[in-house]
Symmetry: C2
Subunit: 656 residues, 2 copies
């Protein structure tokens, strides 16, 4: 009868259309992908701008097959087939034939929902652990001459995502508000600045924007991630933490903390992820430039876009370069002055990373839930720039023997700052002060459904000084996190630098408050150093250095006030204008060392955005952006970058 | 007095020699590095061919300092200083001042062993967890004008190694025989072939050869491994498992399983590690070519050279490409014939990896001891080609949730071979036979101190079929290793292909033994396929295919004999000549599937080596190498490669 056999997809056989009509002939396959059709609202995927059907696994979707005549269950046999990747194999889960016959078990359940005239509505439930990505859809009819299968039709391609709503999915999250926020919210806020003087950075995650889903899948392709691993949320998150930065693997974003962004976009200029992801997937080369919040924001887009619940968190005073060591060392000379040459570790003023929600079948029970992942290149985790997923619950309990990179995250929130006095004669170091409450001062994230922040420090650690905290630190030590054992005596003179709110361009006063708790007089030689620092804690330049001597009567407090003029620091400012003051001193009578640190966030002028005219579909609107120059001089070369999520792509304006 | 200050090493201060003689003046520092001096015999490092002192950490060594006058403990103060890396820091353990004064604590203990005339013998005990590598030695004298320090003198450089003899060291191994073998033995045997027909490959590890220690340290430099990590045996072993292969990181050896070694040395040609390591460290580019035993052998040299106890193990029938999955799939068509197109996983006839001995402070107690590490690039572990260290004890008990790569090693020894019958109509697969005893058939290593092999299968798993084994497999499943759940009924016809010993060039008989255990007649259609395979299990080409029908009387056994002629397979041979026979069949009456597999190792002719004349120092010796051509044709283009560990570097001879 003139049947022509042809190999297709490495998988099955195509039988070209014949004239025989004893068997079902397929006229049309409709994926029901319009937002007003049944699938996307039920799968919470109606927000994606896409030409294809997007569904979440572990949940039924429907498609309509139109035959040349009514379907007769007793006589006719047909299957819907799904194929992903280059060499589909049933046993690898990359070739999925779905039968609607009652007596057949398919890896994805199939059933006839309705059969009217020539049209059969088929319900298909992808397995809750199936591969996430872009599948190709075929319908095959069994005939005595072989299998009759539809040809490849791109419009029938099907995206299958992780499903936080499906109990069987490893990313199942049993909380409506959290799901709405951490999967479906396209905009968010990233916190930065200082824990007691926080700033907000609004961000357009844009996970539903046209092309973003393809860009996210491209990232895994670029990493040559095996198709068979792409249903595993742990592996997807870990791979992405490596791929979001360009180190090792030509990943998405190039880090740059230098202050010179001539050949790219300054990290502070980005307002959303869409442009970055589309740029990467079209150019196939890393995008310039990022710092931690950009990595975290784009990572967040990636995770939400694929359906893994995710949020950005900010840790204030994040220890860095710990290398499994729970100490950040500050070296003082014999007079109590910081030895900058020998002080190499740094504490980031803040650091952003991500949390994603998933079960951890690879670990003992109890460590599922939120997992810390971090795409910012800091230390190399296990030889590559990536970090996590590390169970937040495991970190809280010091159970850092489980993968991945838990000791690193543990150190970021738990390190001690140890001040050493260096003996100039033989170079030995003696610990003189241990500050165990500075690092990991506060961890925050956005409240689901609200424009407010939530302190989640208690999810990472027990209260400072509690017996549980001590137990956890001991547990972590068992697993090789080394701590400073010395407990040098507390000095009987206290030193504090209280919080200041300062705007860029302000002159202001730096206050040092001394308190002599002893009943004897005390003389303190103080070294006060003011530095412009990057948010990473790395010093750019020193703009203030003073060495006052303070004499304290018994049981008396003293206040020392220093004038800081804008001209002192303005010329040395780098982006993310932070000033870091560190005061150290030696009490003459006792030899004890006192220290205090203060980060001053320089607040930039507020931009006001005003919309004039009615917001009407397909009519133009006016947006007025205004800000007041806080300086005593004229501003030149001002760039303004405006983005309207879903309304207007990013626009730049330059004012000479 | 004309003192000149100068910065040195980023660390201290050099005071050039002055005329003042009130203070100690250093005339000489003697590292006592000759084999007849005190240090190297005590540290078991006398075998190293080196110009420098080599010691093991956690154990005292001595050096002699000659001053201009006798040392007076009450008045004089001096210290021996050790520095490693580019930016020495006390707090990082890269700058170690050792004082001999009783009232001073040094990170490395120091004491005066003897003080005679102007010569002070100092005993120094490097910390048992100190950094392993090449340290620079200085002696410093404290004077009122500052510190007076010797200049850099390369001959005083000190190599500090891991110490299997020191209780405080993480690689402490409390067994004399094992230490002798796994640290100090320069030669060894690597097993290959088949578990029931094993061959031996002698290997010259050469860890004490001149330049090998420097080459091993260069590997860590090339990997840019932080100096501060180099005291951690876990990190050193893991890093090396990545660096021994050239994937990702331009590591030591390029893998090649193609059979075409035109641009390098064939893997089978190597007889030792020295040439490979020296070649790599001088050219700084990967060496061509390796297969698993070459990776394992060179890795072994690396570990033993640095003092980490190590051995090469061979696993017979090693599952591959498991990807956390405990199945190797063989797909049969509806007639019971193998569908080669759809059978993609492979089982290596054997696979070699390494074990190294160390404590695991990063894991809960009980998982120290032997750790599996593997430098052969198979799957990417965590995105890089490397594997381990994975606790062998944890693998045995299914505790595969701990780092590193335990699920992968677990699958190598525990996978099931699952035969599926493929339904040609809809492509679904039905498991028809599960063979759970094929993979990980036997794990062997060399007996310490003897030229004999030791079966260490019981260190990797409990006996096949024991209740413990079942528990372990269930445990591993909890951690995400998926197994085949189906238990298809055993066929009532048994099929076996018994062992054959065959030499290259032999004609031989392949026997198929059938046994009908039922009380009815059985008809079996059999497919017998004979293939030349690489040791990786990958088929090179088929040289035999037969489809006999066998008729069995009730309760009767039958034998089927097939002639295999050398001309059938000789032309298709690849190196490591293995023949793989697989017989599958379908019992006509019951539809049951029967299978059997047999690897035939083709034994190559034995080389005999004879030494004539007396072996006398600095006199020439004659070595006669002989072998008999087993073929019926003349041999052309024969290469002979001879190496005499410690006697003669590798030599090639070519016979046209």
């Amino acid at each position: 009868k003139g049947n022509i056999l042809k190999c297709m997809d490495g998988g099955g056989i195509v039988l070209l259309r014949t004239t025989s009509n004893n068997f079902l002939d397929i006229w049309d396959v409709n994926m029901l992908r319009r937002p007003d059709e049944v699938n996307t609202p039920q799968h919470s995927t109606h927000l994606y701008a896409s030409d294809h059907l997007i569904v979440r696994r572990g949940q039924e979707f429907q498609l309509k097959v139109t035959f040349d005549r009514p379907y007769k269950p007793a006589d006719d046999q047909f299957a819907v087939e799904f194929i992903i990747g280059g060499s589909p194999q049933f046993s690898k889960g990359t070739y999925i034939p779905v039968s609607v016959a009652k007596d057949r078990q398919s890896p994805w359940a199939g059933r006839v929902v309705d059969s009217t005239d020539n049209v059969v509505t088929v319900g298909i439930t992808p397995a809750p652990d199936c591969i996430v990505g872009k599948w190709r859809t075929y319908v095959a009819v069994v005939t005595p001459y072989g299998i009759r299968r539809t040809r490849r039709d791109e419009s029938r391609d099907l995206y299958v995502l992780f499903n936080a709503w499906a109990t069987g999915d490893s990313v199942f999250l049993d909380d409506d508000d959290e799901r709405e926020e951490c999967v479906l919210n396209e905009v968010g806020v990233i916190y930065h600045g200082a824990y007691d003087d926080m700033s907000e950075r609004p961000w357009n995650f844009g996970q539903f924007d046209y092309g973003v889903l393809d860009a996210c899948l491209f990232i895994m392709d670029k990493a040559a991630m095996p198709i068979t691993n792409r249903g595993d949320a742990i592996k997807v998150a870990r791979k992405a933490s490596a791929m979001l930065n360009s180190h090792d693997d030509d990943g998405v974003l190039v880090g740059n903390w230098s202050g010179d962004y001539t050949y790219g976009v300054a990290p502070t200029s980005w307002t959303g992820s869409t442009e970055i992801l589309l740029n990467y997937s079209s150019s196939k080369t890393p995008v310039c430039y990022a710092q931690c919040w950009v990595y975290a924001a784009v990572f967040n887009t990636f995770l939400r876009c694929l359906g893994i619940p995710a949020r950005v968190v900010t840790n204030f005073y994040s220890a860095h370069d710990n290398d499994g060591n729970l100490k950040t060392d500050v070296i003082l000379d014999e007079n109590g002055r910081i030895d900058k040459h020998r002080t190499k570790d740094s504490i980031w003023n803040y650091h952003c990373w991500n949390e994603c929600y998933m079960s951890r079948p690879d670990l003992p029970q109890g460590f599922g839930g939120w997992q810390a992942v971090d795409a910012t290149p800091q230390e190399t985790s296990d030889g590559m720039y990536r970090c996590g997923p590390a169970s937040v619950q495991a970190i809280k309990h010091g159970q850092i023997c489980f993968p991945f990179d838990a000791p690193f995250v543990f150190a970021e929130v738990n390190s001690d700052v140890v001040f050493y006095s260096r003996n100039p004669r033989d170079g030995t170091l003696e610990p003189v002060k241990v500050n165990s409450s500075h690092v990991g001062r506060m961890v925050v994230t956005k409240v689901p459904g609200q424009d407010a922040r939530r302190d989640i420090t208690d999810q990472y650690k027990f209260p400072e000084g509690s017996p549980e905290e001590r137990t956890v630190l001991e547990k972590a030590e068992e697993y090789g996190c080394h701590r400073e054992k010395a407990t040098p005596p507390e000095a009987d003179v206290e030193l504090d630098m209280p919080l200041m709110e300062v705007r860029v361009g302000d002159d202001f006063e730096l206050k040092l408050e001394f308190n002599n708790t002893s009943d004897q007089a005390r003389t303190v030689d103080v070294y006060v150093s003011g530095n412009v620092v990057y948010y990473t804690g790395v010093t750019s330049s020193e703009f203030l250095f003073k060495t006052p001597r303070v004499i304290l009567d018994p049981k008396k407090a003293e206040k020392l006030v220093m004038e800081v003029r804008s001209q002192d620091y303005m010329r040395k400012l780098v982006e993310q204008a932070n000033l870091h003051f560190i005061a150290t001193g030696k009490v003459k009578e006792t030899g004890q060392i006192i220290t205090s640190m203060r980060v001053v966030t320089l607040h930039t002028p507020k931009l006001s955005v005003e919309v004039s005219g009615l917001a009407k579909v397909s009519e133009e609107m006016m947006v007025t952006v205004e800000f007041t120059n806080p300086f005593k001089f004229n501003l030149e070369d001002v760039y303004v970058r405006v983005e309207g999520p879903g309304v207007m792509p990013p626009k730049y304006k330059h004012y000479r």
